[in-house]
């Protein structure tokens, strides 16, 4: 199955990258953008028997840095579509 891991900075952690993107959007003339937070998307193709607990463990041990980041696991395809 295909799993998407959405990684974002925790609320309250300053995001210099997001701020730079916001300024760039303003520079392009886009108004009304109040805040920008940049994150990361990691897509995994895993066997169907990989458990939720194992996915959680992957996030905590490597994919996200729990000091500054949150993660959200989303299963986008139950079967491989190869």
């Amino acid at each position: 199955m295909k799993v998407q891991i959405h990684i974002s900075l925790k609320p309250g952690v300053l995001d210099p990258q997001g701020r730079a993107i916001q300024h760039a959007l303003e520079g392009l003339g886009f108004g009304g953008v109040k805040d920008v937070r940049a994150g990361r998307l990691i897509e995994l193709q895993v066997d169907d028997n990989v458990t939720d607990a194992a996915l959680d463990d992957m996030c905590r041990k490597l994919l996200a840095n729990m000091v500054i980041e949150n993660y959200r696991i989303e299963k986008v395809g139950e079967k491989e579509t190869a």
Binding site: V13, L14, P16, Q17, A20, K61, L62, L63, N65, V67, I68
Partner: protein
């Protein structure tokens, strides 16, 4: 008794040779060079250094992949036994990612890679790494990093401050680091992570020798406690 040190090289380390030269110049004995894929460290080490660079191309997060490499299990075990461990720049990032030091090193607040010599204040001169400095002394050490913006939650920052674990502070605002933190110690005081490069200020040709004190302190500590 000779000072036995090791310098770990990860794929993408680029300050490992500078670190080895500094250790040899100050201690008189050449460090053992250890590769990231090695499973164990030499016995009887007095000092382990994690050098600067861009291990694994900074993939995922700076230091994240290196922190999970085989040799780091041995480094963590050695640190827990009390062996002094110094992480400089990328080495500091690796130490936080490995959980040996708290906090995280994020992109510099100004987004830019910063490469220049900065003034640091020695906050704690009681550690094995800093005993050769005066408390409050200003030293000048180069930095060269993109991800040196130290972040930790307020409780961690209070603890670091309260326990005297802030070893160095930037004397000016440099990269957005919380409390201008440039280097921190673990609770036991045998692990130091810092973004500035003391190994680049060892001889007058470098423009100064302010980094020497750190290595001299560590060598003195090892030889007196042995």
């Amino acid at each position: 008794m000779a000072f036995r040190s090791a310098v770990i090289t990860f794929p993408g380390s680029n300050c490992d040779r500078d670190m080895a030269v500094a250790l040899e110049q100050v201690s008189g004995s050449a460090p053992v060079r250890v590769w990231h894929g090695d499973a164990s460290l030499p016995d009887g080490l007095d000092f382990i250094a994690l050098p600067g660079g861009f291990s694994y191309g900074d993939y995922l997060r700076s230091g994240a992949m290196a922190a999970r490499s085989p040799i780091m299990q041995a480094v963590v075990a050695a640190a827990e036994r009390g062996v002094p461990v110094l992480g400089v720049c990328n080495g500091f990032q690796v130490l936080t990612e490995a959980g040996l030091l708290p906090g995280a090193l994020m992109r510099n607040a100004g987004q830019n890679f910063i490469c220049r010599t900065v003034a640091l204040t020695v906050e704690n001169n009681q550690s094995l790494f800093t005993s050769g400095y005066e408390a409050g002394q200003t030293i000048h050490i180069p930095i060269a990093h993109h991800d040196g913006n130290f972040f930790a939650d307020n409780e961690t920052l209070r603890r670091l401050q309260g326990e005297g674990r802030i070893a160095f502070r930037y004397a000016e605002s440099v990269n957005g680091s919380c409390d201008d933190i440039a280097g921190i110690l673990n609770q036991a005081g045998n692990v130091l992570g810092m973004m500035p490069h003391p190994e680049r200020m060892i001889e007058p040709a470098h423009g100064g020798t302010d980094g020497r004190g750190l290595f001299e302190s560590a060598v003195r500590s090892a030889l007196t406690t042995a």
